[in-house]
């Protein structure tokens, strides 16, 4: 999963440089272990909410890669018909309930989805990914409080990549661990995990998701990780000290995991095969996406309303 996510993001970066993807994008290069660890712990009926840095979260829920790539490229064959774009990837059929581009907005929305799951007795768990910057916006606090008071089956996952966009999170936050140190304010366990260690993420995810499913209420996790690139396409990330970047690159979750697999006796050839398959998948998805048609004028005024149209007057 991590390998597919990594290669998807790299390809997205390349396609930007080729001018085939317009607008902006926020890549999760380096952060794949958090999305992968949680994705492995979820059931098909569970629901995931993520941010504008949400390509990999959506992909790892099982969304078709070519339709995601096509969405980035503004094609009619995109997962949202080209209307969403990089920051709004959504695949409801796979429980990927949306990528939210206003910081914090999806925190209460995820709580609402969990509330419906609880009332309907569906057994679903909701997982909501967000960045460290989100911990300083009001919706974060409103959602956590309500989730605890209503004892909702939702797991909130802070991907702390140490920078809120361009500014170090520590410079603008009252506590050292922006999510974990706030957990006690809502009566929650303070949980800090190594977000670059996919096994640790998976174990924590399994424990918290299972607990939420059994009626044990919400959780808040802080996963420390690091962006390999800038905040968005426009950001070369020159504000980060070289030795910090070097230290985190040495802790890249994918080579780290490869080493662990080799040490545990997995054949190198087997791992190479996984990597080759992932590359083939990305190549094929890229070609399919490139072959997709651009949306025509007929698409513009559709799907504002449930009747499929956008009429506002008689």
């Amino acid at each position: 999963m991590m390998q597919e996510a990594r290669l998807f993001e790299k390809r997205a970066q390349d396609l930007f440089l080729e001018g085939l993807i317009k607008g902006t994008s926020h890549l999760a290069l380096g952060q794949e272990a958090v999305a992968a660890g949680f994705a492995a712990a979820l059931r098909p009926e569970d629901l995931v909410f993520c941010t504008y840095r949400g390509h990999v979260h959506t992909l790892l829920r099982g969304a078709p890669m070519s339709a995601l790539m096509a969405e980035l490229m503004g094609r009619a064959s995109g997962i949202c018909g080209g209307k969403g774009g990089s920051m709004h990837l959504t695949d409801v059929s796979h429980g990927a309930m949306g990528s939210y581009a206003i910081v914090g907005a999806h925190m209460p929305i995820a709580a609402g989805a969990a509330w419906a799951a609880m009332e309907r007795g569906t057994g679903q768990v909701v997982v909501c990914f967000f960045g460290d910057g989100t911990t300083n916006i009001g919706a974060f606090h409103e959602a956590l409080n309500m989730a605890v008071v209503w004892r909702l089956p939702v797991v909130y996952v802070c991907e702390n990549n140490l920078y809120m966009e361009y500014t170090p999170i520590g410079d603008v936050t009252a506590v050292a661990n922006p999510a974990a140190d706030r957990a006690s304010a809502y009566g929650l366990e303070s949980i800090l995990v190594d977000g670059n260690d996919v096994d640790e993420v998976y174990e924590t995810a399994t424990r918290l998701v299972d607990r939420a499913r059994e009626g044990g209420g919400p959780a808040l996790v802080e996963a420390r990780t690091y962006r390999h690139g800038g905040h968005s396409r426009a950001d070369p990330a020159t504000y980060r000290p070289d030795d910090e970047v070097k230290a985190w690159l040495a802790r890249d979750p994918i080579p780290t995991y490869r080493e662990r697999l080799l040490a545990s006796g997995v054949e190198a050839g087997e791992i190479d095969l996984v990597e080759r398959d992932a590359l083939e998948l990305v190549d094929r998805a890229t070609e399919e996406a490139k072959a997709g048609p651009f949306p025509g004028p007929d698409a513009l005024e559709t799907e504002l309303w449930a009747d499929g149209g956008s009429t506002w007057r008689s």
């Binding site: 309930m97 609402g112 509330w115 799951a117 009332e119 009001g138 409103e142 449930a306 008689s314």
Partner: protein, 324 residues
């Protein structure tokens, strides 16, 4: 048939829909145990229990986010936003999330939810609890907006809103909560996007909304004694907008006036007037007239608030002026 106050109609409307459909849930600040700060939701907790009628913290983003998320996962939730002025603290959820998500996802996400809110002035609450903000919601593609002006319309339009597959904002003029009206027995279901002609006339069309409807009606009755026969339209639904009823009336009368409680700039009447100008210009016998509050926050003192909000006298006088 029974005489109900508007506030009694609110609770009857919610009860009617909760009784009919077990997926209808209702949340808000002080709505359950306390029965609502305007006493519009009394008895619902006792009738439907604490799961379906739930008090929330003072967290408007969480309230609106919760109904959005719940609507994405199989409920048909209703949120009360205590005062419509509080749109300003949860506008991201309404304008950026609820309004846009269906379109952005190309129809993957349906949001069958209702937000009801107490709106407008006339009760001396001052500038932050008296605004008429229906125009804020009207300006955002993806939101439907209705403004019932009578108890029976409250029930019928609310029922239509709950049953609609899209997000609907139900705007309740709080000054009308104590007003009374005849309400038939049994289930009442209206439809969105229909204006009502509440008084027929041949000389001038007066379009009003919410709390301005009874004032426009009274002004029209007064004008009748001067020989001016005004047609009064209760717009009722801003999105969808019943343009047909309005234009048909203008074609008949040749004169057009709006009565709006909102400040002057970008009120709903500006949009309606622009449609009339574009599409019935050659039927007009005089200039379009908009009667609004001044472009000001609403003051608290009764003497000042009464000056700001269009009065029956002011409406009658302006309409008389257009007939010259």
């Amino acid at each position: 048939m029974a005489e109900l106050t508007y506030r009694e109609a609110v609770s009857r409307a919610i009860a009617q829909e909760m009784e009919r459909d077990p997926s209808v849930y209702f949340i808000g600040e002080d709505v359950a145990a306390a029965g609502g700060v305007f006493k519009t939701t009394e008895g619902l907790l006792e009738r439907f229990g604490p799961n379906r009628v739930r008090d929330t913290p003072i967290s408007e983003q969480a309230i609106i986010g919760a109904v959005m998320g719940a609507a994405m996962n199989g409920l048909r939730p209703v949120a009360e936003l205590m005062f419509s002025d509080f749109f300003a603290v949860c506008w991201d959820l309404i304008a950026n999330q609820i309004a846009k998500t269906r379109y952005m996802t190309n129809g993957q996400v349906a949001l069958p939810l209702v937000i009801r809110t107490a709106n407008g002035g006339g009760v001396r609450f001052g500038a932050q609890h008296s605004q008429s903000v229906e125009g804020w919601a009207m300006a955002i593609p993806g939101l439907k907006v209705v403004v019932p002006s009578t108890p029976v319309d409250m029930i019928g339009l609310f029922a239509a809103a709950v049953r609609d597959p899209d997000p609907v904002i139900v705007v309740e003029p709080k000054v009308l909560y104590a007003s009374k009206g005849e309400v038939p027995d049994g289930e009442i279901v209206d439809r969105l996007g229909s204006a009502n002609v509440v008084r027929t006339g041949d000389d001038v069309t007066i379009c009003a909304l919410g709390a301005m409807v009874p004032k426009a009606f009274e002004a029209a009755e007064r004008l009748a004694t001067d020989g001016i026969d005004a047609e009064v339209i209760d717009v009722r639904s801003l999105v969808p907008l019943d343009v047909t009823t309005i234009l048909d009336s203008v074609a008949k009368t040749g004169r057009f006036v709006t009565v709006e409680e909102n400040p002057r700039l970008c009120g709903w009447g500006a949009e309606v007037a622009s449609i009339v100008a574009e599409e019935r210009f050659f039927d007009l016998d005089g200039p379009l007239v908009r009667i609004t509050t001044p472009h000001l926050p609403l003051p608290a003192a009764d003497a000042l608030e009464d000056l700001a909000i269009p009065s029956v006298d002011a409406i009658a006088e302006r309409v008389r002026g257009t007939m010259d």
